[in-house]
């Protein structure tokens, strides 16, 4: 019998593709996607959804810790549009707050039964309250409010003062 035994450390970057020095969850699948130089003909049927797994690597490289990846992954699989926002927002936060620590976490309202939660991107800042709120309002005005999709309501930015 062939046994599959998961032995990854789920809280840290996993050193799978050790040659590159970076965790790379699906090296074979990505390599195989391009079958021919003639992309029009042979390239795989293009998916719209960017794999959430790649998003987590992207966020980790941008100083963002993903709290409880498993539930966040479930949420993102059900709300694929949110993935796009998460690719955009780290650069916008860095522009306003500098190179701060971020954490992505799914919160559930205990008063609502069977809700799927709301995703929060927490910004750790040492700005004073007034300045931090001003910066957050700037992000709201310049970026957040321009996003018209319904899924944006399932995503929020939050300040954590250090």
């Amino acid at each position: 019998m062939t046994q599959l035994t998961s032995c990854y450390n789920h809280n840290e970057k996993t050193n799978i593709a050790s040659l590159s020095g970076e965790a790379n969850e699906f090296p074979f699948a990505f390599w195989w996607k391009e079958e021919s130089k003639d992309k029009k003909i042979k390239e795989a049927t293009k998916s719209f959804v960017k794999p959430a797994e790649s998003l987590f690597s992207f966020l980790q490289e941008r100083n963002c810790n993903v709290v409880n990846k498993e539930t966040a992954l479930d949420f993102l699989n059900n709300n694929a549009m949110v993935i796009d926002y998460l690719y955009e927002v780290p650069a916008i936060i860095r522009e306003k707050f500098g190179n701060v620590k971020l954490s992505l976490e799914l919160y559930f309202d205990p008063e609502i039964e069977a809700n799927e939660g709301k995703l929060f991107l927490n910004i750790e800042t040492d700005f004073d309250v007034k300045k931090a709120r001003e910066k957050l309002e700037e992000i709201d005005r310049e970026w957040f409010l321009n996003r018209v999709g319904e899924d944006i309501r399932k995503f929020n930015l939050n300040l954590e003062f250090i």
Binding site: Q3, F26, F28, A29, I41, T45, K69, E70, A80
Partner: protein, 245 residues
Amino acid sequence: MDKQYKNSPITEVICEFRFELEDIFDQKTVDLFFNEVKDKFPKKKRGQVHQVNFEINSKEQKQNIDNSSYDFDQFFSDDKKKLIQLDKERLSIHKLKPYDSWREFYPIISLVFNSYIKVIKIKSIQRIGLRYINNFEIPSSSFDIEQYFNLRPIMEKGLPQNLASFMVGTVFVFEDGRDNMKVQFLNSPLAGSDKTMFVLDMDYFLTNPNSIQIDEVDRWIANAHKNVENVFEAALKEKTKALFD
């Protein structure tokens, strides 16, 4: 898959067409197309593709990097769970989770395809792809893969029997080589310590350009779906399928 599961593992289904065009594709084409589909896909958006091309001239030891991007059109349903991507000669229809059934998805493919060929004259069909991406979890971190999957790596005597991870990939041949199905099956290290996550990605496509005509498209898609469904049902054992019911 058409056998309806209560908790379907499908995260995205895509039906994509690549054409050779007779007419010039311009903004008027986009407007006419939108007019045909706007009842079902009323929300418009511009998508963007980024391209980076490297050109290395070894004689002059020069490296040219061409970093460019171009826009294409996207049309979303009200709930944003269905969308069309229109990129000149490439047309794709996507259904995101939750996937209901083929009976609901197929008429949408038909509407979008017929709308496209109504507004622009095509010379030939270069490729059609019907792709199903499934994500699911086995609620255990250590188990015998024989109990869960028929599609799996076979480790003969002498090879270690304890695997930390696997990736299985194959291209199946259908309809005497006219169609292929690329199947990739792998487990992801992302799941928590008490679960293991799997991705089963099936891309059924027309192998050679210009091998079917417009009036054969309906039949091709129905057949593609049947073949994808058969492979899905055969790849997983009942113990796995029970997790979706």
